[in-house]
């Protein structure tokens, strides 16, 4: 029997996985948009985004638009690759159960 792949713990967290998936479909997104889509609290969202940033999976850009602070997040190539590998591992683990 072949070895089953390990799931990346950084990606596996429910909120972190949602954030990476959201960011994979857009060029960049504001903190407020991510908060609206995930309905997470500011503290939790900030903490999970920081973990993703520390892992090198997301990049952050802070700027001012019309004198208002704006925090933009985008998925990095490393983050995109981690998400792809996570999905592949997930499919491998589920195997035939995926169709059930």
């Amino acid at each position: 029997m072949p070895d089953l792949p390990a799931l990346n713990p950084v990606v596996h967290g429910r909120l972190r996985l949602a954030l990476l998936s959201l960011l994979s479909g857009v060029e960049e997104a504001e903190f407020t948009w991510l908060r609206a889509k995930t309905e997470a609290t500011d503290g939790n969202l900030g903490a999970q985004l920081l973990k993703l940033e520390e892992a090198g999976y997301v990049a952050v850009e802070k700027k001012f638009v019309l004198r208002k602070p704006q925090t933009l997040y985008r998925i990095t190539e490393t983050g995109r690759q981690a998400l792809i590998e996570y999905v592949q591992a997930l499919k491998q683990l589920l195997g035939p159960a995926m169709d059930a």
Partner: protein
């Protein structure tokens, strides 16, 4: 870690990925309010121009609706992320808005908005084009049905009687603006309720 992870949890993760990617790409459903607003405004403009016989009916209603749309949209769009898809859809509707605004402002003020058949055919053709293009990009069957309804209105305006032309136009506004807009708002709300808040 997966020893402690049930198959159901893994499936849940997979569906979470799919729903979040789709959520990031979703654009039109967030605009249900705009479809409803413009549907109501069309009815107001038609009623005002029919019973009030005023050349200001279309320019005033279109200008007011455009201003409301710009203000509300700027508040909502400020938070929307940039996507190629979003820009494509946004471009279609922005170009439609500018075309309609100039057309009705010009026709209304010049007093040349007199041929009902031509008027219904032009407005329906523009809306059919925008809905059709948007539906094809998003692969959204419901919106494509709206495009077909507008195209039926174009044909009816060209070959039908005054009454037939106006009835089909009013029905098209009701179905493709008001009903479709409410459907968009409900679909977005239900999706949010179904998914619920996400925790780490």
């Amino acid at each position: 870690m997966q020893d402690h992870t049930t198959q159901q949890e893994l499936k849940d993760r997979l569906s979470l990925i799919e729903s979040m990617i789709a959520e990031g790409r979703r654009n039109t459903e967030s605009w249900g309010w705009a479809f409803v607003l413009w549907g109501v405004v069309y009815y107001l403009a038609i009623a005002w121009s029919a019973w009030g016989h005023s050349v200001w009916a279309w320019p005033v209603t279109m200008l007011t609706a455009a201003m409301v749309t710009v203000v509300v949209a700027s508040l909502k769009v400020g938070n929307l992320p940039g996507t190629t898809l979003g820009r494509a859809i946004g471009s279609i509707w922005m170009a439609l808005g500018i075309s309609m605004f100039l057309l009705f402002l010009g026709l209304g003020l010049s007093g040349r908005l007199s041929d009902q058949h031509l008027f219904v055919a032009v407005i329906s053709a523009i809306l059919g084009m925008a809905n059709g293009a948007s539906a094809l990009i998003l692969r959204w069957k419901v919106q494509f049905v709206c495009a077909v309804v507008w195209w039926v209105a174009v044909v009816t305006a060209c070959f039908g009687s005054d009454a037939q032309s106006m009835i089909v136009f009013l029905v098209a506004i009701f179905l493709c603006q008001i009903v479709f807009g409410i459907y968009g708002v409900i679909a977005e709300t239900q999706e949010r309720k179904r998914r619920g808040p996400l925790h780490a």
